[in-house]
């Protein structure tokens, strides 16, 4: 059996009397898109936050390529190669696309201008941004010097995905990437997700949208009451069965 890229075992997270995670497990295999679905309050968000360093679990272990890791901030997770596209997008509207791609890890100019005057390599970052957008086939964005607030929702999402794909070396986590988008924009973002996977980066996709999940996921992790209820194969389980397992109306099949 291949070693999972990212593995979580027995994660527990309590908020006062509320138990958000009650011993949750997760396995992400190399080169796959793992969809995480679950009803509201099933612990999807807490699970993802634990993996992306946004919350520290009370118990349990996270393994990256088989090595135990512990993240106390999102920056730790990023340093380990786990990039997250947050539902809130985490882009800064008044800055331009290139500035957003490099936000928090700007490149400086070479020589004295960079080391003494701390000058940013604006052109270098714009070119790199252009390359990243091209690599993902994001052609609707013409100018990386454009302010993000002038972009549509789908284009902003594309910027956030491009950032994750550009800097994520191990795992990309996407939280509801199509939630606020129209049909055509969702289509483009789903294609982006497949592109990211095809570049060899495994993706964890959190979504409420069953047709989207069934379209792109290689495996589906069903979260229920703070635990992993089942992992199913979208080719052998129907959408309605997956929803039934998610809501507790049906017991999962023996093996996925």
């Amino acid at each position: 059996m291949t070693t999972p890229v990212l593995q979580a075992t027995g994660l527990v997270k309590r908020y006062g009397k509320v138990t958000a995670l009650a011993g949750a497990d997760l396995e992400l295999l190399p080169g796959e898109i793992l969809a995480v679905i679950g009803d509201n309050g099933a612990g999807k968000s807490s699970l993802i936050k634990a993996l992306s360093g946004a919350v520290v679990p009370d118990e349990g272990e996270i393994l990256l390529d088989g090595e135990p890791v512990s993240f106390s901030t999102p920056i730790d997770a990023r340093k380990a190669g786990i990039e997250t596209v947050h539902q809130s997008l985490a882009v800064s509207p008044s800055l331009d696309i290139a500035a957003n791609l490099f936000l928090g890890r700007e490149k400086r100019r070479k020589g004295v201008l960079g080391s003494v005057f701390r000058m940013l390599d604006r052109n270098g970052m714009r070119e790199e941004a252009r390359r990243q957008l091209d690599a993902l086939g994001i052609m609707t964005i013409q100018n990386p010097g454009q302010a993000v607030e002038t972009l549509s929702g789908g284009q902003r999402q594309a910027v956030a995905v491009a950032r994750a794909a550009a800097f994520g070396s191990r795992v990309v986590i996407m939280d509801e990437p199509t939630a606020a988008l129209g049909v055509r924009e969702s289509r483009a973002v789903l294609d982006l997700i497949l592109q990211v996977r095809d570049r060899g980066l495994p993706v964890i996709l959190i979504s409420h949208n069953m047709p989207h999940v069934f379209e792109v996921a290689d495996r589906i992790h069903i979260q229920r009451l703070g635990r992993r209820k089942a992992v199913v194969d979208p080719r052998s389980v129907s959408m309605s069965d997956a929803v039934a397992i998610m809501t507790g109306a049906m017991e999962p099949p023996e093996a996925a």
Binding site: S88, S92, S94, A99, N100, L103, G104
Partner: protein
């Protein structure tokens, strides 16, 4: 040629027809300093036509001297407002540091340079205290600085015993900012020059360094900035501390301007600096604006007051004019923010 070919399918947004007003909105959105620059230019032309004395070297020198203190304060105020904060304590920090610089030197005979540096340290520490209260106790900057405004002002009254320190009792270095140099027939104070250099330096840092971008990002959407890996608390702390240092520079300019250190000086300079920043096109909601705009804003206020005075208009109407300018500037900002992609 068929009729269908004459009309290209779905034109790009850039090619869509726009009204003059929408174009203006987009232009101001992209270049926030155009507005204040146009207002300043218009004001200069109007006042030059109204009074022969307006554009004389002596009068220009006077305006620059009057603007130097508030203009310097506005540099610190701008970086705080860019983070969606506000600093009501800037005037109090300035007065406290001016008293510390002057009184320590006058009482102990400390030479000018160490006295000045001591003032810089005090100013930075005051700013740092604001920053700690904002980031650690998570209090709104308005409340924090309203509190520290009173704290610093009280400390200033206590340390100075409410007494003014005369210029003749202090080292000449502290008064250097009030001395002038002749530039093209106009006598410019070193304090005014320092303000311009400071504006240029801060504009460079904001535009060209990662720190500058992080300041904008923190003010724009602090949660997004945090999730992007920016340590927003650290950015805020550095912004308030830097602002404190800038206010200490303003204190130096203040001493030179009034040739003494008075515990009662600069009482309304905190509000005047906010006025300059707002008229200069920086948004009170953070993340948008520029230092150069604040200098223009300070100059606009200075030019309006001076020009109206030369035209023989009563002081109360000068104040009225500044009030109207503020309302217009903020309305304009609201309108620009509603720009559609």
């Amino acid at each position: 040629m068929t009729t269908t070919a004459t009309r290209p399918p779905s034109p790009l947004p850039e090619q869509r027809d726009r009204s003059v007003l929408t174009r203006l909105q987009h232009l101001l959105h992209a270049q926030a300093t155009i507005g204040p620059a146009v207002v300043l230019l218009a004001a200069i032309i109007v006042f030059a036509l109204l009074s022969d004395r307006f554009l004389t070297p002596g009068n220009i020198s006077l305006i620059l001297q009057q603007v130097a203190v508030v203009g310097t304060l506005a540099v610190g105020q701008t970086i705080v407002i860019l983070t969606a904060g506000i600093d009501l304590s800037c005037g109090a920090i300035m007065v406290l540091t001016s008293i510390v610089m002057a009184k320590v030197a006058a009482d102990t005979g400390l030479p000018g340079l160490p006295a000045l540096l001591l003032g810089f340290v005090v100013g930075t520490l005051c700013g740092l205290l604001n920053g700690l209260l904002v980031t650690r106790l998570k209090l709104p900057p308005f409340i924090v600085t309203l509190g520290t405004l009173n704290v610093f002002f009280a400390l200033n009254l206590w340390y100075s015993a409410s007494a003014t320190i005369r210029g003749t009792d202090m080292p000449s270095l502290l008064l250097w900012t009030g001395q002038t140099v002749n530039i093209g027939g106009t006598r410019i104070t070193y304090g005014s020059i320092m303000m311009v250099v400071l504006v240029a330096a801060m504009a460079f840092v904001l535009k060209n360094t990662a720190w500058g971008r992080h300041v904008y990002a923190t003010g724009d959407d602090s949660e997004a900035a945090r999730l992007s890996g920016i340590r927003t608390s650290r950015v805020l702390l550095s912004v308030y501390a830097t602002a404190g240092l800038v206010y200490a520079l303003a204190a130096w300019t203040l001493i030179g301007r009034i040739a003494s250190a008075s515990p009662q000086a600069g009482q309304l300079d905190n509000l005047d600096s906010i006025t300059a920043v707002v008229i200069g096109g920086t948004s009170l909601f953070g993340g948008r604006g520029a230092i150069v705009g604040s200098l223009l804003g300070a100059l606009i206020v200075g030019v309006f007051r001076n020009g109206l005075a030369l035209a023989g208009v009563d002081v109360l109407w000068q104040t009225m004019a500044v009030g109207v300018l503020i309302i217009v500037a903020v309305s304009l900002d609201q309108w620009i923010r509603k720009v559609k992609p």
